[in-house]
């Protein structure tokens, strides 16, 4: 490894990000610049910002490693990521969110929900869920990135966490959402190039797509009995219907993440950064291709690592990933191990930048939303008043979010990290999605319906995470402490993701309670759904 070259590459990257951060700082003059990047971001920048915030190290390394275990069945998640996470999200959620959000002058997701239902409680409850749960997700991204930095740059883990946190916070704090979007565009471009190269080089190494897929199919003969017992049928087959692995792939991975993306506050706020629905029509093009190249490549390559490790060390990826320190397989090691052993040295540098970019682009969006949830939604002056210095308030909110995230990154046990991303996606879907979707498309949706749905969704998710869903309950330890066992019920409840129960329950609650309670006043509905798109007040032309 050429250390001098490595440090030069990192220094150039840091300088480029810092330069974009300064550019954003020089263009951030108002509260609206800070919150929604002025509301006139170019569609290509918006799509790259959305995609790179969506895709973190846990998607590439975590879920890519899971593809090494489960195989190509994870491609159903890639399909969901593109069709639900981009096409449905932009076309049916994004454009409507932009129109209603602009009509209500909403600049954060909790503010959007609060104004749509004319309820301060909804705004503060949504902000509280974000302020409490999102640092857990941010810490998961931070820990993954810092562990990677620790291995590649040989720096102390605690130092890596602090460097990451302070560097990302610096450009988010000074440049607001403009700082996030500008740096996301650079980071998204690096990620696209890195993943495209990874796909081409992997297929080339294994003799082309057809030969690679056939070799992977042939590996089913070497499947360990322990995996077959859980429903594994090979890396180019779905797990056996209703087996343990089928539930993990379908309920946690495909549904949990595939649907959960629709209700992610840090992604929803991206819709508000463009000028009109036309920009979102254009952003769909870049978004679809970008996500295909991210999770599509990560999952295909993750599965194909089995062929490489079989040909070189005679083991499947899971067995090759045994951690020397613990003696146990660790799927998070599969992708880094493959890159370091199968790819040329120059590509390990490219991939390092890809992962740092993936982590930083997600962290910046998380920090921004945690900060605005605290400063604008939880600590908001009464309506009609404005804070004396809203920019300062937003920046103080970000510092609070940063401190919580860094503290969690030092304190969380390794076991809880793997589920933190899925927990956050699941809780967001159950708590927010019915109220959000109904707010866009159902004029009969009521304030009481939205409140009941959010309470039922978050409470059901929390209950299942603590008591029935084994991955969550074993990590949290509440069931063990109260009842002396890691989960209350037997299989399949131990592997049924909370979203499978909590989302339908909160959806039914939304409809039933709305039908028996007072509708939202007509004047508010007229204002929400007027067709006109207004330029955001205070927007400065780019």
């Amino acid at each position: 490894m050429n250390s001098a070259l490595l440090y030069v590459i990192v220094a150039l990257y840091v300088a480029a990000v810092a330069g974009l951060g300064y550019l954003a700082y020089s263009r951030t003059k108002s509260d609206k610049d800070y919150l929604i990047a002025g509301g006139n971001v170019h569609p290509v920048l918006m799509a790259l910002a959305y995609g790179s915030t969506f895709i973190s190290t846990s998607a590439i390394v975590g879920f890519g490693g899971n593809a090494g275990l489960f195989g190509m069945s994870l491609l159903w998640l890639t399909f969901a990521n593109i069709f639900v996470g981009i096409f449905l999200a932009f076309v049916f959620f994004g454009k409507k969110t932009l129109v209603v959000g602009r009509n209500l002058d909403a600049q954060t997701f909790p503010e959007f929900l609060g104004r749509r239902y004319h309820s301060a409680f909804i705004q503060k409850y949504a902000a509280a869920i974000i302020a409490i749960a999102m640092p857990l997700y941010a810490a998961a991204v931070m820990i993954g990135a810092s562990r990677f930095l620790e291995q590649t740059l040989r720096i102390n883990y605690n130092v890596a966490v602090l460097v990451f946190a302070v560097f990302v916070a610096a450009y988010v704090m000074t440049g607001g959402l403009k700082g996030v979007v500008y740096t996301d565009a650079l980071q998204g471009t690096i990620m696209f190039v890195g993943m495209a190269l990874l796909l081409v080089m992997t297929y080339a190494k294994l003799g082309g797509p057809l030969a690679a897929h056939q070799a992977l199919t042939g590996l089913a003969a070497k499947l360990p009995e322990s995996l077959a017992a859980k429903g594994h049928q090979g890396w180019t087959s779905m797990p056996a219907f209703l087996s343990e692995y089928w539930w993990v792939v379908v309920s946690t991975i495909v549904m949990g993440v595939g649907i959960g993306v629709l209700a992610q506050p840090q992604l929803i706020v991206r819709y508000l950064t463009v000028k009109s629905p036309r920009e979102l029509n254009r952003a769909v093009v870049v978004g679809g291709i970008f996500i295909l190249m991210m999770t599509g490549v990560a999952f295909v390559v993750g599965a194909l690592t089995n062929v490489y490790f079989d040909q070189t060390v005679g083991k499947i990826s899971l067995m090759a990933s045994v951690d020397p320190a613990t003696g146990k397989p660790n799927v998070d090691r599969i992708i880094p191990l493959y890159i370091n052993s199968a790819m040329p040295v120059w590509f390990t540098y490219v991939f390092m930048l890809t992962l740092i970019s993936a982590a930083m682009s997600t962290l910046s969006g998380q920090f921004h939303v945690i900060g605005t949830s605290i400063s604008r939604d939880l600590y908001q002056p009464k309506s009609g008043q404005t804070a004396r210095d809203p920019l300062l308030l937003n920046r103080l909110g970000l510092v609070a979010g940063l401190v919580i995230t860094v503290w969690l990154s030092f304190k969380l046990p390794a076991g809880i990290i793997a589920v933190a991303t899925a927990i956050f996606f699941g809780v967001c879907a159950a708590a927010f999605l019915p109220a959000y979707a109904a707010g866009l498309y159902w004029k009969r949706a009521t304030r009481a319906g939205a409140i009941a749905s959010m309470l039922v969704g978050s409470a059901t998710s929390l209950f299942m995470l603590m008591f029935t869903y084994a991955k969550g309950s074993a990590s949290l330890g509440v069931a063990q402490a109260l009842f002396g066992k890691p989960a209350l019920f037997a299989f399949p409840w131990t592997v049924v993701d909370p979203i499978v129960i909590a989302l339908p329950l909160s959806s039914v609650t939304m409809v039933v309670v709305s039908l028996v309670t007072e509708p939202v006043e007509q004047g508010l509905l007229n204002r929400c759904f007027q067709k006109k798109i207004l330029a955001p007040a205070g927007a400065a032309a780019e």
């Binding site: 069945s73 491609l75 069709f83 454009k95 897929h213 180019t236 629905p277």
Partner: protein, 35 residues
Amino acid sequence: MLGIPDPQIWLAYLLCLLSAGLCVAYGAVKWNSHD
């Protein structure tokens, strides 16, 4: 198909490509539309 015998998997592989194609086609058709 594609060297993958299980139709549930090659269908997923194809749907990934088709859904990305749908995004490109939609954007191209609605490029100048404000709706």
